[in-house]
Symmetry: C2
Subunit: 236 residues, 2 copies
Amino acid sequence: MAYEFYYWPGIQGRGEFVRLALEEAGADYIDVARESEGLAVMMRMMEHADRPPFAPPFLKDGDTIIGQTAAILLYLGARHGLAPKDPAGGLWTHQIQLTLGDFVAEAHDTHHPIGVGLYYEDQKAEALRRSEEFRDSRIPKFLGWFEQILARNPAGSSHLVGGTLTYADLSLFQVIEGLAYAFPKAAKRALKNAPLVAALHDSVAERPRIKAYLASPRRIPFNEDGIFRRYPELDA
Amino acid sequence: MAYEFYYWPGIQGRGEFVRLALEEAGADYIDVARESEGLAVMMRMMEHADRPPFAPPFLKDGDTIIGQTAAILLYLGARHGLAPKDPAGGLWTHQIQLTLGDFVAEAHDTHHPIGVGLYYEDQKAEALRRSEEFRDSRIPKFLGWFEQILARNPAGSSHLVGGTLTYADLSLFQVIEGLAYAFPKAAKRALKNAPLVAALHDSVAERPRIKAYLASPRRIPFNEDGIFRRYPELDA
């Protein structure tokens, strides 16, 4: 039975981390909210499920509904060979994903530092201040951590964990894609100091299933409704 | 062998979710950074570990180091009967914890909306704006979700998952403690609409090991260096 994947239909957002794992796994899935009437189905499930997700994305596999991006990837990683089988390696992969999640939340807050209920235009002054700290301090700190992990991986620096691809690699790829879209200048600077991260990004982009996905209409282009938004005034 | 627990020694912070699980489990653990020279040990481990945590808290169990609060609780929950044994129930517990983590991050950002590298005093105007949205919109939304989960739990409304205590219950207790400290007025209002949440909080406080822990010097008092800070101007 195909997985049912639920996320806001017009953006990559947090759902994209799940889409990339499903695509790399070659899994059979339906992107429900992008189908006719699918958004209404999604909203009903959030309201009426016995175990309601707080927010999209969520995944339905038979009777099981799983929310929270990192939890979905924990689930898919174990089922599709996108995480090590040993418990310590699996937990380490999850730990990296959770840290990527923290990074993504900070990237989101660059344009919404005051609150999700307000428009960007109503918090632009604050966004300018927050973006400066994000560019100058947070991007280098996070990328430095990923670079260090790659450098210390005893199985080689091509992957974050072990010698083969994990969902953490896919997620780091997506974060770099997002940074390059939203903060092209700052991302370029930071990647010069993180050559292993840059190489991992490029190698993921060349994986056959990812390459095909990125070129397909299933990949929603970045836009100014998602997490990574190109507001030129926030980059420098 | 005792667990080694690592966190900033002067605050409850994110580490407190781990402390509560260790205490409820009656686990043997050392709060390393609160021992003499312990902070230096913590900093060295973050710098030199093969799998370095991005930030505290982290837990060392033999040779395994686990960072990220939710990942630590996933690990401890399975070992100490603080999560259901069935995979779907374990993942649901984890999903709730991750949502609590999102809530905690938002609580933190009420006093640091512009960046962690700046003092509160340098972002106070922004903090006032962000706190208003947090009080009026986010606290009710999150507490409403927890209330709904409790109401829909087929095993009864005394716990978030199943018929016995999980680490998610402990974490919800801690979040309510924090909100009551930082936003006493807003928390009181919101809890009137979330009586099951309030009852769960009170029942956790009465558990013998938790009660003993809260009365002990091991429990660091809330203060204005942690996540939940009492700045009266942010409450209303």
